[in-house]
C-alpha cells in the first residue's frame, strides 16, 4: 500500500539534495573554477600573481599569528570559569550567573566589538579614561587579539565546560589518596582527560578568528590579514574576481585542515563508563580565587561593551559628556535605519523558520530508524562540508555564482546563505536529540495504521519541541549577528543591520553603530528569553502529566 507512493523521506532528501546542490556545490565549484580558469583555459596565473609579490604570504602569516595567539589566550581564559563551575563549591546561583554572562558576546555582531574596543581602549576611550592613561595601542595586533579573544571565549568555554562535566571526579580522590601532590593530581585527573578538548578549543578559536571579517574591519590598522585582503579583492577599488577566488581557496584550506584535526581529536576524547557524583573537597581559598578570577574575566569582557550603552546617550563624546537622548530620537525617526532593522528581523525570522524545517526534516531521516535511513548519509555529508566553509568564502561564492541572475539582490539569497552557512550545528543538535527518543515509535504507529507524517506530527514533534525551539533560536541569533557572508550579498533594498554597520563605519558614525547593536542585542535577548520561557512551560507541563 505504501510501496507505490513516493515516501516523504525520499521527498525530503531529494529536496535537500537539490537545495544544497544549487546553493552549496554549485557556488563552491564556481569559485574553484574562477580561481583556476581564464577565458576557458586552465591557469595558475592568479595564484602565481598572488604569491609573486609576497604580500599574500605576509597576510596569511599575520592571520595565522594573530589567530594562534588569540586561540591560546582564549583557551587559557575559558578554562578558568569552566573550572570554577565544575571543580569548586561556589554557590550554584553564582555558577549559573557565570555560565550565562560569559555567553554575552555571542549576542552581538563581531563588527560591533571592534568599535566597542576603539571607544574603550582608544586615547579617549572609556577604560583609558577610567584607568587614567593610554596603555595599549589597539590599532593592530593588540586590538585584534582583544577582539578575537572576546569573540571566541564563549565557544571555548562551552567546549571545555561540557567536557569537564563528563569527567569522573572520583579519580581526583583516588589520586590524592595515592599520595600525589596537588599539581600532579591536577595534571593527571583534570588536564589529561581534557587535553583533546583543549586542543579542539584552540583550533575552533583559531578558525573563527582566522575567517572573521568584523573585527579586522575596525581594528586591523595597517596590518593586512587574509580576510581584509579577500574583502579588498572582491569589493575594493579595483575588483578582481579571479584573484579574489584564489584568496578564498587559500582561506578555505586551514578550515578544512582544522575540521579534520577536530574529528581526529574527538576520537581521543576519554570516555568514562559512568560519572560518579562526588562531593568536592572543601577549599575556600580555591573557591574564592577561581570565583574572583572568573568574575574579573567576565567583568573585563562586559566592560568593553559598556561604551555601547554610554556613547549614544552622551551629547558629544568625549567633549560634552552630559546625558542626551538626541541621538536616540534621531535614529529612531530615521526611516532608512528603521527599515534596515525590519529587514534584519525579516531575514532572521525566515532563516530560522526555514532553517528549522530543513534541519528537522533531514535529521528525521538520518536519526530515526527506517528503511530510508541510508539516505541520511547525505545530510551528514552536507553538515560536514558546511562546517568547513567560512562565511566569507560562501559569500564570495554566492556573489560570483548568482551575480546577474534573478537571485541577485534578493532577500531569498540572504536567507538561503544563512541556512547553508549555519546548517551544521543545529543539524547535529537535532539529530542527537532525535536519536535519544524511543526508536520503536514509528514501527508501533505504523502497525496501528498511522502514516509516517502522522507519526512525526503526533508523536515525535511534541517530544522534540524544546530542541526545535533551540534550533530556531540558534538560527535566529546567528542570522542577526552574521556579517562575513552577507556583507557580499546585501543590497540597498535588502540592507541588513550588520552590513549597514560596515557602511556607517566608513563615516565613523558610532552613535548609529552602537544603537543598532543595542537593537540587535535586545532582539536576540527577547528571542532567547521566549525560547527559555517556552522550555520552562514545557517542563512544567511534562511534570503535570
Amino acid at each position: 500500500m505504501i510501496k507505490h507512493k513516493v515516501s516523504p523521506q525520499k521527498i525530503i532528501i531529494v529536496f535537500t539534495g537539490i537545495l544544497f546542490g544549487i546553493f552549496l556545490l554549485l557556488p563552491m565549484v564556481t569559485i574553484l573554477f574562477k580561481s583556476f580558469c581564464e577565458d576557458g583555459n586552465v591557469t595558475f596565473k592568479f595564484y602565481a600573481n598572488l604569491f609573486s609579490d609576497g604580500s599574500i604570504v605576509k597576510a596569511f602569516g599575520n592571520s595565522v599569528l594573530v589567530s594562534s595567539v588569540s586561540g591560546v589566550i582564549t583557551t587559557v581564559l575559558a578554562f578558568i570559569p569552566a573550572y570554577a563551575i565544575n571543580y569548586t563549591n561556589i554557590n550554584r546561583k553564582i555558577k549559573k550567573i557565570i555560565s550565562t554572562l560569559i555567553m554575552f558576546p555571542m549576542l552581538l555582531p563581531t563588527i560591533t566589538y571592534g568599535f566597542a574596543i576603539i571607544y574603550s581602549f582608544g586615547n579617549q576611550g572609556l577604560i583609558t579614561k577610567f584607568l587614567g592613561g593610554h596603555f595599549v595601542d589597539i590599532y593592530g595586533m593588540a586590538g585584534l587579539i582583544i577582539g578575537y579573544v572576546i569573540y571566541t571565549l564563549p565557544v571555548s568555554f562551552m567546549l571545555i565546560n561540557n567536557t569537564m562535566g563528563y569527567i569522573d571526579k572520583k579519580f581526583m580522590i583516588v589520586s590524592r589518596m595515592m599520595g600525589d601532590s596537588r599539581l600532579k593530581c591536577f595534571l593527571a585527573t583534570v588536564i589529561t582527560p581534557l587535553i583533546s578538548t583543549l586542543a579542539v578549543s584552540f583550533i575552533q578559536s583559531f578558525t573563527l578568528s582566522f575567517t572573521d571579517y568584523g573585527i579586522p574591519a575596525a581594528l586591523a590598522g595597517n596590518i593586512e590579514l587574509l580576510s581584509t585582503r579577500l574583502y579588498n579583492e572582491m569589493l575594493g577599488s579595483l575588483p578582481d574576481f579571479n584573484t579574489g577566488s584564489a584568496v578564498s581557496i587559500i582561506m578555505l584550506l586551514p578550515s578544512i585542515l582544522s575540521i579534520i584535526l577536530i574529528s581526529v581529536l574527538n576520537k581521543y576524547n576519554i570516555r568514562y563508563s559512568k560519572i560518579s557524583v562526588v562531593e568536592l573537597s572543601g577549599n575556600r581559598a580555591r573557591d574564592i580565587i577561581f570565583g574572583l578570577i572568573s568574575a574579573v574575566i567576565i567583568l573585563c569582557v562586559l566592560s568593553v561593551f559598556a561604551v555601547i550603552f554610554i556613547v549614544p546617550f552622551v551629547e558629544q563624546w568625549p567633549y560634552r559628556m552630559n546625558f542626551s537622548l538626541e541621538h536616540i530620537t534621531e535614529i529612531f525617526s530615521d526611516d532608512s535605519l528603521m527599515s534596515v532593522c525590519r529587514n534584519s528581523l525579516f531575514v532572521a525570522l525566515l532563516t530560522s523558520v526555514f532553517g528549522t524545517l530543513i534541519v528537522y526534516g533531514t535529521a528525521l531521516v538520518s536519526a530515526r530508524r527506517s528503511e530510508h535511513r541510508r539516505y541520511g548519509k547525505l545530510p551528514d555529508i552536507i553538515s560536514l562540508i558546511t562546517n568547513t566553509i567560512p562565511g566569507m568564502v560562501l559569500g564570495v561564492a554566492y556573489l560570483l555564482c548568482f551575480k546577474g541572475t534573478f537571485m541577485h539582490n534578493t532577500f531569498a539569497i540572504l536567507v538561503i546563505c544563512n541556512i547553508v552557512h549555519y546548517f551544521s550545528s543545529p543539524y547535529l543538535m537535532m539529530k542527537s536529540s532525535l536519536e535519544k527518543l524511543n526508536a520503536g515509535w514509528e514501527t508501533t504507529a505504523r502497525l496501528m495504521g498511522d502514516s509516517w507524517i502522522k507519526t512525526v506530527l503526533r508523536i515525535i514533534t511534541p517530544n522534540a519541541v524544546s530542541t526545535l525551539f533551540e534550533v530556531f533560536s540558534y538560527f535566529f541569533v546567528n542570522a542577526m549577528v552574521t556579517v562575513s557572508a552577507v556583507i557580499f550579498l546585501a543590497s540597498t533594498r535588502t540592507m541588513i543591520v550588520t552590513a549597514k554597520i560596515k557602511e556607517l563605519q566608513h563615516f565613523a558614525n558610532f552613535n548609529e553603530i552602537f544603537v543598532l547593536s543595542i537593537l540587535i542585542l535586545i532582539t536576540n535577548l527577547a528571542v532567547k528569553g521566549l525560547v527559555r520561557l517556552f522550555a520552562v512551560i514545557q517542563k512544567k507541563k511534562g511534570k503535570s502529566i
Partner: protein, 329 residues
C-alpha cells in the same frame, strides 16, 4: 493532550509566518523607489535628502552610501547592471565609467556651470583639502603648528598625525596632488614615505577618518576636508585648520543617471534636476566652493590659496598616483 501540543506548535508556526508576511509587506513596499548610490559625506547626503523631501520626493528614493573606492569598484564591476538609478560620485570616476560602459544618460536639462563639464553629469559640490589640527592635543604635547603638507613628514609628529590612504578614498588625492605639483614625483615619494611612517596605524580608508580622529583627540594633526574642520571650529570644538603653503586642491562630485534602457526610472532625472536647481544654496553651507554661475562664496569659508592640478584628473592618473603612494608604505 498531544494533539493539543501539536496544535499549539502549528499555531506558533502560523504566527511566525504571519509575522514574516507582515514584515514582507513593510519591507517590499518600496520597490518603485529610486535608488541613489553615493560616495558623498553625511552632510552632503543629508542636504540632498532635505532638498528632495522639500520638493515632494519624500519616501520616493533611498540612499545607499559607499566609500569612494567601494563604489568605484562596484561601478567598474557591474556597469549598467548596477542596482542604482542615480549615482553621486567623484567626477573623474563617472567619466571613466562612462568611457568604459556608456552607462549614463544625457542630462535632459541645462546646467549653468562656471566651467565646462560633460553632458551626462552635473557637479553638485566641490571638496577642498586642508590640514586639520586638534589644538588641545597639539599644545598638550608641545608640538609646533604645521604650515605645509611637507611639515607632516617631520619626525616630531610621529604618532600624532592621521592621513587618508589613497587606496580607500580620493580625499588622499588632494594631499598627493599638492605634494606632486609643488615638489615633483621624486621628492613627493620621500615626503610621503616619512608621512606614512609618522601616521603609522592612523592611515585611514575613509576621507572623513582624519577629522574623526582629530575631533576625538586620537591624533593632533590630520589631512582631510577643509569644510569639516571649519564646521567643528564653529561648533566650539578644539579643532582648527591650516591652509598649507602648497595650496588647497579641489575635487568635484557629480550626479549622473544610470541608463537602464526601458527600465530607467523617470523620476531619477527629475530628482537630479531638483537637487541641482534647489539644493545648491544648502550644499554651499558646508561646501563653499562656487560651481554655478551667480554663486558667491563666503570670503573666509574658502581658501585664498586654491589651486588646480596641472594635468586632467582621470582614473588613470589616480592609478599612477596610487602606485606611487603604495611604493611609499
Amino acid at each position: 493532550m498531544k494533539i493539543k501540543k501539536t496544535l499549539s506548535a502549528i499555531l506558533c508556526a502560523v504566527m511566525v509566518l504571519t509575522a514574516c508576511a507582515v514584515l514582507w509587506g513593510c519591507t517590499s513596499n518600496g520597490n518603485e523607489q529610486v535608488i541613489i548610490y553615493s560616495n558623498a559625506d553625511d552632510e552632503a547626503v543629508e542636504s540632498m535628502k532635505k532638498t528632495l523631501d522639500a520638493n515632494g520626493y519624500e519616501g520616493k528614493y533611498v540612499f545607499q552610501s559607499f566609500g569612494t573606492s567601494e563604489l568605484g569598484g562596484k561601478m567598474l564591476a557591474e556597469g549598467k547592471d548596477i542596482e542604482a538609478d542615480i549615482i553621486t560620485m567623484s567626477s573623474y570616476y563617472i567619466e571613466s565609467a562612462q568611457a568604459e560602459y556608456q552607462m549614463f544618460e544625457e542630462l535632459t536639462f541645462d546646467v549653468n556651470t562656471n566651467e565646462e563639464y560633460p553632458s551626462y553629469y552635473a557637479p553638485f559640490l566641490a571638496n577642498q583639502g586642508a590640514i586639520l589640527v586638534n589644538t588641545d592635543v597639539l599644545s598638550a604635547n608641545g608640538l609646533a603648528m604645521p604650515t605645509s603638507v611637507k611639515d607632516l613628514a617631520n619626525p616630531e609628529y610621529e604618532g600624532y598625525i592621521s592621513v587618508v590612504d589613497i587606496q580607500g578614498s580620493s580625499t588622499a588625492w588632494l594631499m598627493i596632488q599638492s605634494l606632486i605639483s609643488e615638489y615633483g614625483e621624486d621628492e613627493t615619494k620621500e615626503i610621503l614615505t616619512d608621512i606614512y611612517k609618522n601616521a603609522g596605524a592612523h592611515i585611514e580608508q575613509s576621507g572623513s577618518g582624519p577629522i574623526k580622529k582629530v575631533r576625538a583627540g586620537e591624533v593632533a594633526i590630520g589631512f582631510g576636508l577643509r569644510h569639516q574642520a571649519v564646521a567643528d571650529k564653529a561648533d566650539g570644538l578644539p579643532v582648527d585648520f591650516v591652509d598649507p603653503t602648497e595650496g588647497n586642491f579641489t575635487l568635484t562630485e557629480s550626479l549622473a543617471v544610470v541608463d537602464k534602457g526601458d527600465n530607467t526610472n523617470s523620476l531619477a532625472m527629475e530628482m537630479v534636476k531638483c537637487i541641482i536647481e534647489n539644493g545648491r544654496t544648502d550644499l554651499m553651507e558646508y561646501y563653499p566652493v562656487p560651481l554655478y554661475k551667480g554663486e558667491i562664496a563666503d570670503s573666509d569659508a574658502i581658501s585664498a590659496n586654491s589651486k588646480v592640478f596641472p594635468e586632467a584628473l582621470t582614473v588613470e592618473l589616480l592609478e599612477k598616483h596610487r602606485s606611487l603612494s603604495e611604493s611609499c608604505k
